[in-house]
Symmetry: C2
Subunit: 147 residues, 2 copies
Amino acid sequence: MESDELFEAISHPMRIEILRVLARRPTRFADLKRKLKIDSSGLLDFHLRKMQYILTTNGEGLYTLNERGIAALQAVETVSHMGWQRRAYCINVFVYVAMNAYFAFFIVPNSELLGLYLIVLALTTSWIVFYSYWSFVKRKIHLRKPE
Amino acid sequence: MESDELFEAISHPMRIEILRVLARRPTRFADLKRKLKIDSSGLLDFHLRKMQYILTTNGEGLYTLNERGIAALQAVETVSHMGWQRRAYCINVFVYVAMNAYFAFFIVPNSELLGLYLIVLALTTSWIVFYSYWSFVKRKIHLRKPE
DNA sequence: CCACTTAGTCAATGAGTGTTGACTTGAGCA
DNA sequence: TGCTCAAGTCAACACTCATTGACTAAGTGG
């Protein structure tokens, strides 16, 4: 996928707005114009033309996102949820500790499911190690303050 | 986070190349020039200037990605791994079916862990329902052929 | 039929983009 | 001291972008 064309299509605030509106529902030209409070048809036409790599016109006049448009939307979401990654990491660690503690104290003593517990332990541990490696060593973002 | 500035910074093939190089390791001006086979210093300077929202110059001449740069990298990855989403969905459904079948046939009959199984069933089912809703109803991408 | 909405197209314009190639400034070294 | 490389800066230029406002052509309601 030729990323630059896709990013070009969403490198303007108005185009990101259009993307968000179209993500909710397919919309007609005039409705877009009203929702985004654009006076000029020419301007909206210009931006829709720049987004044509991302859009299709669905039957009669309805603009809608194509597969690349959905990728673009996901890229926007990825970027705007950036601040949650540190918190997500903490939640992951907490769930790991809680889950394994629960298994170790309540499940293992009074049953023969030690094998199952070991599988769970191995899976969750490799997950948390991989995730920690990715977060700390490779990216070093979770301990730094945002600038 | 002001997404458009970030996407602006990666809406050119050369800048995506620079992003990928800097994701691997912090790099100096001349090394970037060599790696990307750019003859003109002015051109590289121009693109680095356009990417300044995403970069920091680490001590002596080393260009490196800042937190926004890492967000940009993730956006690029999101877009270029788009093709895997359909497969990921199938894997998810398979894991759901296999896991619940395993629990239902092997765990439940010969132990008192019915409660645990019901929790697992509830969690995995709500996960698969939510994921399916998101994928099929809201996005409609997993059954369509890519264009 | 007239007014009005919808969905555009088109030309003009100033600001910004991508690229080139010449120039600068400072460090390293022979 | 002069030479070379690294890391830029700068001016110039063609081209593209964002925006405006005028225009068009098709459909709709009264």
